[in-house]
């Protein structure tokens, strides 16, 4: 009797597990190179937009300098990524990930636009810290391992230290703003 129950429970668990697994599989299917290129470009663009807002709005010299570095650096990475995509004949392709990145970025931008002064500075920098942490995770765990083209992979690998330095810079700013 118990054996029968155990068998049914195991079968049910397996079914549920595989269903859930299949679902996450389709949602997070490995992106192809065209999608990876788009994700990289969108990730940069989101930070460039936030940086432009902060450069204009912030009255804190350090925050302004940080924002300008974000604009400068992400524009440089974007330019390289776009040029490489063109050279490889790859048209960046939207995916669920890139759409979500842009949607989240727009939401955050709207939130920041409604703020000002010290509150804005703190919210901007806090967001930059979590944003860069998330982007580093995506680049390291999803984009680089799935990139097929060697040049695109090497570009993404060189972007790693850039984003890490941004994260460190943002964390230092966060500390000084929270004093």
């Amino acid at each position: 009797m118990i054996k029968k129950i155990a068998l049914i429970v195991t079968a049910a668990a397996l079914a549920a597990f595989s269903a859930a697994h299949a679902q996450t599989d389709s949602a997070a299917a490995a992106p192809n190179d065209a999608q990876i290129a788009m994700i990289a470009v969108v990730a940069d663009s989101v930070d460039i937009d936030a940086g432009k807002l902060a450069a204009k709005k912030s009255s804190d010299k350090e925050v302004k300098a940080f924002a300008e570095t974000m604009i400068r650096d992400h524009t440089a990475v974007n330019a390289k990524a776009t040029a490489l995509a063109k050279k490889l004949g790859v048209t960046p392709e939207e995916s669920a990930t890139s759409k979500k990145l842009r949607a989240d970025g727009d939401k955050e931008l709207a939130k920041l636009k409604a703020m000002s002064g010290a509150e804005f500075d703190k919210a901007y920098v806090d967001n930059e810290v979590s944003y860069h942490e998330a982007v580093i995770g995506v680049v390291t765990n999803t984009l680089i391992p799935n990139t097929k083209n060697a040049e695109l992979k090497s570009l993404l690998e060189s972007a790693g230290p850039i984003f890490t330095s941004h994260l460190e810079h943002a964390k230092q700013l966060q500390k000084s703003l929270n004093k």
Partner: protein, 189 residues
């Protein structure tokens, strides 16, 4: 002699007899006494020692002549020092090469190199002589600067470089104004 056994009979030795087998195995088991000499055919130990000493002396004297190219020097971003400095290195054992170095040009400006790569200055600390020039090369995608209290490169674009000649001795810490965690120093003696 006991009856030859079924085992193959090599060189007339009866492998069946235990004494015969023991006698054959003795050298392997070390029962045979050596006379104390360690021999490695075809060379004996003393020949090895002599060769070792020769190699050591050769290495010692060639290294003294060639100190400007040792690994630690390269790591610190040195270009081979101007030939005039070789004179200081020679202590007279290789007098022929010492006289050679005085012929070389000692007025050539020395340019030392620092790379900006992966958001770091390499080398992070560089030791140079008064009058030397340091050239910073941006090997990164993003623009950088090399800025201190006494010098400022301004933005250095990707693949571009910038030079500064150090006319005063001292320690010059500097950083990239765009990336404050990128810090380094120039030590001028």
């Amino acid at each position: 002699m006991s009856q030859p056994t079924l085992q193959r009979d090599r060189q007339g030795i009866d492998y069946g007899a235990e004494q015969n087998v023991r006698k054959l195995h003795a050298p392997i088991r070390g029962e045979k006494k050596h006379d104390g000499r360690i021999t490695i055919k075809p060379f004996s130990l003393w020949i090895l020692v002599v060769c070792g000493v020769i190699f050591f002396l050769a290495g010692f004297f060639s290294a003294r002549h060639g100190t400007e190219f040792t690994a630690t020097n390269l790591d610190r971003g040195n270009t081979p020092p101007a030939p005039s400095t070789l004179q200081a290195v020679q202590t007279g054992t290789a007098s022929a090469s010492a006289s050679q170095s005085t012929v070389a040009d000692s007025t050539a400006p020395t340019v030392r190199h620092v790379a900006m790569k992966n958001m770091k200055f390499s080398p992070a600390t560089i030791d140079i002589k008064k009058g030397d020039t340091v050239e910073w090369k941006n090997d990164d995608i993003t623009p950088h600067t090399a800025t201190s209290a006494t010098f400022d490169s301004g933005p250095i674009a990707s693949d571009a470089s910038w030079r500064h000649t150090f006319t005063e001795a001292g320690s010059f810490p500097y950083a990239c104004t765009f990336h404050p965690e990128m810090k380094a120093a120039v030590i001028v003696k």
